[in-house]
């Protein structure tokens, strides 16, 4: 027991002592902040703001449209009467970045709704302009049909859809944006941390193998004890890392709430400060630990069957891909947390450590599903560790070429 403790301490102390640990600890929250800020920016339409409206209409439609867009506050719209070479000169303006783009409006806009937009970022332009231009045209059409301008103004009042999540029959204080951002947050951290620390276990196994330290160690304690100490030690490092991130994140979020009052309002619409309950925290930790144990046992086996860093990098790919897949499917799950795919992924033990917390944060989950998923995960940890420990036991003393599948099966049988 004391020997396992010594292994745990060595793994912990040596890792926490490195520069990289502290760089990760400090940079992690900053990086997350940047990613979130950028996604917020993207959600705002890539900064399509300054636009011109080339007015080729015979009525007041062009002028009215410019007025409407300008008043919305989201754009600085200028009306330009159609003339020779006006399109060319506006194109030049776009190229020199004095303008984000321009709309070409003709009489056809009223009847067929056809409006042309040219700009540097047409994808964002389409997303951002579709609704306001459409609404502005509706207003003009109604006015032309002789509807009272006051009625038109009242009818054109924009929609403010407010969402409240229902958790276990109670309406929670969370908005859709908050659940989305919480799910996104948890999924990303779980995926990154399980992968990162799993690979840490792998390189630790590999180091002992390549330096032959393992011979001395295995003559003093059982391979399983060594493996256990290693996984516990690296796991302790990851929890310490979370602790630092948690404290740093709290400080950062407190600060951000103040910033949100200012300019970054747009980012807040999509990514809001999540409300982390005790239950959410428990789910996060349970699935992190489960996923970490499951994957680090597999990564340890990969390290044990490889002889060089390069071999290990290749051999770890199938293991890493299982994680990557569950991360990729996170976005589909966010769209529909109740879909058959999402339910399956949150029960399969290789994807549930990422999938289940994401579903938990995104939608309403029956407790029975969580219990079932955790039970499967624990059972899988038992089975996978049993196999991995056997591969580990044989592999750490083997040198030379990597075993093929047949040899691997023999290792598992004979160990």
């Amino acid at each position: 027991m004391r020997k396992i403790w010594a292994i745990v301490r060595r793994e912990f102390v040596e890792r926490v002592r490195t520069r990289w640990f502290w760089i990760g600890a400090l940079l992690g929250p900053v990086l997350f902040g940047v990613v979130f800020f950028l996604s917020g920016q993207l959600g705002r339409g890539g900064g399509v703001k300054r636009i011109a409206i080339v007015d080729g209409t015979t009525t007041r439609v062009g002028a009215r449209l410019a007025e409407q867009l300008d008043q919305s506050g989201a754009f600085q719209a200028v009306r330009v009467p159609v003339a020779d070479g006006v399109v060319d000169s506006l194109t030049a303006e776009v190229r020199t970045k004095r303008l984000d783009g321009f709309l070409i409006v003709t009489d056809a806009a009223i009847d067929s709704g056809k409006v042309e937009y040219r700009g540097s970022n047409v994808f964002a332009g389409k997303g951002v302009l579709q609704r306001p231009v459409g609404e502005a045209l509706t207003v003009v059409r109604l006015e032309r049909a002789g509807v009272d301008p006051q009625v038109v103004a009242r009818a054109a009042l924009p929609l403010r859809l407010e969402t409240r999540k229902i958790t276990r029959g109670e309406t929670a204080g969370e908005s859709a944006a908050q659940s989305f951002s919480l799910a996104y947050f948890m999924g990303t951290i779980l995926y990154t941390a399980i992968l990162l620390y799993g690979i840490n276990v792998m390189s630790s196994v590999l180091e002992e193998k390549t330096t032959r330290m393992v011979e001395v160690l295995v003559s003093s304690l059982r391979p399983f004890q060594l493996l256990l100490g290693k996984i516990l030690g690296v796991g302790a490092v990851s929890i310490f890392q979370f602790l630092i991130w948690g404290v740093a994140g709290r400080l950062l979020l407190a600060r951000r709430a103040r910033l949100a009052a200012g300019d970054v309002g747009g980012a807040d619409e999509l990514f809001q400060v999540p409300h982390v309950t005790g239950a959410t925290f428990a789910i996060f930790m349970a699935y992190f630990l489960g996923g970490f144990f499951l994957y680090s046992a597999m990564f340890a086996a990969v390290g044990a069957m490889s002889s060089t860093e390069q071999e290990a990098r290749q051999a770890q790919q199938p293991v890493a891909w299982m994680l990557v897949l569950s991360f990729i499917s996170m976005f589909a799950m966010l769209n529909d947390p109740g879909s058959a795919l999402a339910v399956t992924l949150s029960l399969v033990p290789f994807s549930s450590p990422v999938a289940m917390p994401v579903r938990w944060a995104a939608g309403n989950l029956p407790a029975s599903e969580i219990v079932l998923s955790l039970a499967i995960l624990v059972a899988a940890i038992g089975g996978v560790t049993w196999i991995a420990a056997r591969i580990y036991r044989v592999g750490i003393l083997m040198t030379g070429k990597r075993p093929n599948l047949k040899e691997l099966l023999r290792w598992i049988r004979t160990a």
Binding site: R10, R212, E215, S219, S220, L221, L397
Partner: protein
Amino acid sequence: MTSVAPAPTPILVLDRVHKAFADHTAVDNLSLAVPPGVIYGLLGPNGAGKTTTIRMIMDILQPDAGSVRLFGAPAGSRVHAGRIGYLPEERGLYRKMRVLDVLVFLGEMKGMERRRARRSAGEWLERLGLAQWRLRRIDELSKGMQQKVQFISTILHEPALVVLDEAFAGLDPVNAQVMKDVVLELRARGATILFSTHIMEQAEKLCEHVCIIARGRKLVDGPLGDIKRTRGGHHLVIAFDGSVGAAARVFADTTLVKKVDDYGQYAEVELAAGADPQRVLRDLVASGARLSRFELREPSLLKIFIDLVGPEAAQAGVRTDA
């Protein structure tokens, strides 16, 4: 094999140990006993099964058949980890760890208390001239210094049995000297040392007991002196004092002499099988030769080794069964 006194209980006994890998037999029905307090040499050409044997002793590999007993008990080495020091053939340490931390950690692996490990490590580092490196990282040390650190890690916990696999291979002469001195000191303190090597000159100087194996099989074992006596006695060194008499006729007697290297006043003689050296002496004196020297020479360990293993295997150091 002529052991005079009743043998004390051996520290290590291998009883018909057998180990086969997928494509060959590494250790074949090997039995040996290491008495306490000796320097025991496990000798053999490369690929003879020395490292496999040692790994089975260290409980790293399990024998397919047979048993290993340490300190009179059948339990594996892990139970006795605190009493055994093991230096594997291939060396290495955690490269990024500090010297003192590595030693304390490995001491803990042997069941030492942290404080004791720290004190003992400090003392050994001091003794081997590495005191000022104690807080440096392993990869800042020279190869020779790393070897010293690893050697310290083997003996830090004052083991009763020290197992050194090809301990002197790759050591620079200065370190080899240091290590030899420490090995002798441990032996003087009562420790038993089992060391494997394929370099016979080294073994001859250090070992009291040897076991020579090849292709996984034991060829001979016992106290080195006994082996030399039973294996030797075939070589004569003869020097004449002026008159050689009819020595040439005596040397020509094929029932007595197998081979002779005659320098006139000096000759080296290899006796024929079963020939009595005393008859050579009698015949020479009877032939009128005056002798200044008549010596029955013990063969070197290397000679015995080559005789047993065969010159190709001994020199090439390759497995002949592969």
